[in-house]
Amino acid sequence: MKRRDFIKRTALASAGVFAAPYILPSGRLFAASGLRRVNHVVFCLYAGGVRNLESVHMNDGNLMTNLFSGGGSISPDIAGAMESLPPSPLSAPLQTYGTLFKEFRYKQGPTGHYNGHTVAVTGRYVDTDLNIREHPRNPTIFEYYRKHNSPQQSSMNSWWVANSLGPYPALNYSSSSDYGPDYGANFIAPTSLISPQGFDVLGNPRNFASPEEAAISNIHAFVNGIFNHSYSDGSAGVINNSTDAALLQAFISDLYAKAQTSQFQNSWNAASVMNNDMYNMLFATEIIKTFKPELMVVNMQDVDVCHFNYTEYANNLRKADFAVAQLWNTIQSTPGMADDTVLIVAPEHGRNFFTNTSVDAYGRAALDHTAPNDPDFSGDPNLAMARDIFCLVVGPPSVVRQNQVINTLMGQSTEIVPAIANLLGFDDAIPAGYLRNWANCEIQAAFI
């Protein structure tokens, strides 16, 4: 072969390799713009306002033994109030399976729960003009995923599992004209849906036989076809196609059936101490087992009892810690997600250094979460404590640095969305200007 022909053919072959989409060993096809590091990401918002003093700095002993190593026993004055929890399902604390950022920060904006949640799922800080009655203005991680992941996935692959209603249902998609409900996640508030109230109105549906389903489908095609408005244009939320909708109806029916059994309530051998957070996580594990979603965000907020009861806050920190361990245990026990999932755990914001006036039965003063907006914290660094959070990233050793603890100030809340986009391989496809540039994200230190 002549030298010129050789160079020409080599160049063409190389161009072909780079132009073609990548086919991974798993058989999945991804756009050439980004390679996936894992096929699943679960982001757990350890929310409700968690102070670093009680979590990673263990001022009252290690209240989160499932997540963190070390630390002493729980302070004697509140130890008696801690409810008994079953042993950890994990063989070692979660931090050994990944990287712990002890000094992560929620740097800007009001330290409110909804603000913090909005920042967490949009990757953008928000100001005081956040409207709790509307969807966020900036696109959510769910929309980035569904719009830019290649191949595009249905909402069955992205879930927002919230522990409560109020404004939180609005976080499954934004009002951005470039994104919106067509790219949103399936939202569920399981402890509201699978409740006595929910069962009263949804628990006993008329089940239609196949010929009836076909007849209904025919009638729908006819009556909707001649009506000049559609209810599917955003006002009905995230619309699943008919096949997925049938699966979701069956899933809801299954949850109603399970929730009435003592076996389900005692799934973690903790029936007597289950709180809202734990049930929310238990339902999230059902979603994981049933649908194996590629992207899930789930939250907990029972620690917010700290506004008036510090000791119960400490108790709920332990329960949330136990629930995260169960979440990871389920992920690692679910074929398809085991060893192919990164779990990110972070509070939405911290709590104040200074106490409020409420004192609980154990003599502990309560804590709010109100950080000033000015950059010098009104002259008192302690006022900024509501911005201090941790971030724990765990996952396969080939992806996440194992047993690494970063004690220095590193990383911030707005880096989690870019990290998820990078892990799932679509960060390059997101137009510039929407998110922090991944190259500038300090959370990168967690990854190989």
Partner: protein
């Protein structure tokens, strides 16, 4: 002679051809407006729930039921799924007022007209009547329950 010829000519001009009768062919006036075309306002969640309850139970929704429905409604992101579930729960309740099967199979058009008046607040147009005749008579699975479910989960039922 000339006079006679003139009269014959004039006479023939008047009487030799008579104007033919004009027949006009056409269709009787038929309502061909778009079904539900005037409905542009979407019902709110509360309106949808309350109206659906009243349509099936014939009474105002109790406050507790409304609260429970509102909670359920907000707890899932795909509102169509939840609405279908709400309606199918209503339809599984034996206390609702639903026409019987013979009502559909007997005077089908009367049933359809009454159902449209009740659920869509209008009468079906001629095209809809024709189509419904076809839908009902060729499918035994089209029962009052399936018709009510389909209409109450349709786009038009969500508007007024």
């Amino acid at each position: 002679m000339k006079k006679i010829l003139f009269i014959i000519l004039i006479g023939s001009a008047f009487f030799s051809c008579s104007e033919e009768k004009k027949y006009q062919y056409g269709l009787d006036p038929v309502d061909v407006t778009l079904g539900g075309g005037q409905k542009t306002n979407q019902k709110s969640t509360t309106e949808f729930i309350s109206i659906a309850y009243s349509d099936l139970y014939g009474t105002i929704i109790p406050q507790t039921k409304l609260v429970n429905l509102s909670i359920a409604y907000s707890s899932f992101g795909d509102l169509k799924i939840i609405e279908q579930r709400i309606i199918s729960n209503f339809l599984n309740d034996t206390t609702i007022h639903l026409p019987t099967v013979p009502a559909v199979n007997g005077d089908t058009m009367l049933f359809i007209t009454n159902t449209y008046k009740k659920l869509y607040n209008r009468e079906p147009n001629e095209f809809e009547k024709f189509k419904w005749q076809d839908l009902v008579r060729n499918n035994t699975a089209v029962t009052p329950t399936t018709i009510y479910f389909a209409l109450m989960t349709s786009d038009e039922y969500r508007f007024y």
